[in-house]
């Protein structure tokens, strides 16, 4: 029997995998992918609760989250490409200009 609990568990797993990926990987583009994973997990929770409560406002919120995710991906990748042009790397351990 599919219920809200199944959705919540899946989104918790998805969010944890995304967070682990952000901490674990050292490539900026993979970190982007893991951020998208976490945003998807949050969207899944919102949709599950919106269905559970019989209320559509949660889905409107998901719509806004998707829009902001698209903007974030575009600007973030532009920054990554600009960094790559200057430093020839996207390995975040090499980007330590601000390190004291």
């Amino acid at each position: 029997m599919t219920s809200l609990a199944n959705y919540l568990i899946i989104s918790a797993i998805l969010f944890s995998i995304g967070a682990a990926g952000v901490l674990f990987r050292r490539n900026a583009i993979i970190i982007f992918m893991c951020i998208e994973l976490m945003l998807n997990a949050v969207n899944l929770t919102l949709i599950a609760f919106s269905q559970f409560l019989g209320e559509q406002s949660g889905q409107v919120l998901v719509f806004f989250v998707m829009t902001v995710a698209a903007a974030e991906a575009a600007v973030g990748l532009a920054i990554v490409i600009a960094i790559y042009r200057n430093k020839e790397t996207v390995h975040i351990d090499d980007l330590n200009l601000l390190k004291g």
Partner: protein, 221 residues
């Protein structure tokens, strides 16, 4: 049957996410991310969110994923086959993410996540959210449908014009009405955010003209 499809989509989603997070080859990670996005879109469909499932496919699979693959292409020298990145297992990260999972599950289902429910004889009883979440009817109940129709008719008059076909009432009607009534200001702000992001991304990723090129363009103009 419904449950089987749900578990298939859940499996695709979680396995794709795990491969994205741990695979050493960036291109394979991006490909696994495709499966995750499609699985999440399937889960949206199972939760009666048809409009958002289509939006997920168009925005994530058709837009963000392609953008990410472009990023991989532009920031790695493919000819030198240097797209494999190091990722050794780190126990601290595993412990941290498992702890995060435990915290999330505790927040969703733990002992503090109860809510008091008034029974018919006036007594309030504390119900754990686990039993509430697993035992409440999941698919759109009659109560939910009635409540939706009541809210819509309060907002927009008689329900005759918002009535959709019996049994196939999609969510796009309600989402459209909410976007242009309660959420009109965020909707407009988000469109400005998209415009600013478009211009900003173009500006940041643009190639800076070198000194000779600047002198050339000045002498030409």
């Amino acid at each position: 049957m419904f449950d089987l499809i749900f578990y298939i989509f859940a499996f695709i989603t979680v396995v794709g996410a795990a491969v994205t997070a741990i695979h050493r080859n960036i291109v394979y990670a991006a490909f696994a991310l495709l499966f995750t996005f499609v699985g999440v879109a399937g889960l949206y469909v199972m939760a009666n969110a048809d409009f958002l499932a289509v939006t997920q496919m168009m925005v994530y699979v058709g837009g963000i994923l392609i953008l990410l693959i472009f990023g991989v292409m532009l920031t790695n020298r493919i000819q030198s086959a240097n797209i494999v990145v190091n990722a050794g297992p780190k126990p601290v990260v595993a412990i941290l993410s498992l702890g995060l999972l435990a915290i999330l599950c505790a927040a969703f289902f733990g002992p503090s996540a109860t809510h008091s429910e008034k029974s018919k004889d006036g007594k309030t009883a504390s119900v754990s959210s686990w039993s509430n979440y697993t035992q409440q009817p999941w698919a759109a109940t009659q109560w939910n449908k009635d409540a939706n129709e009541r809210i819509l008719s309060e907002k927009f008059g008689a329900p005759s014009e918002v009535k959709t076909k019996e049994g196939s009432s999609g969510t796009s009607v309600e989402i459209g009405k909410l976007l242009l009534s309660d959420y009109l200001l965020p909707f407009e702000i988000v469109s400005i955010v998209l415009l600013v992001a478009l211009i900003g991304a173009t500006m940041i990723a643009r190639k800076e003209p070198t000194l000779e090129e600047e002198a050339l363009s000045e002498s030409l103009s």
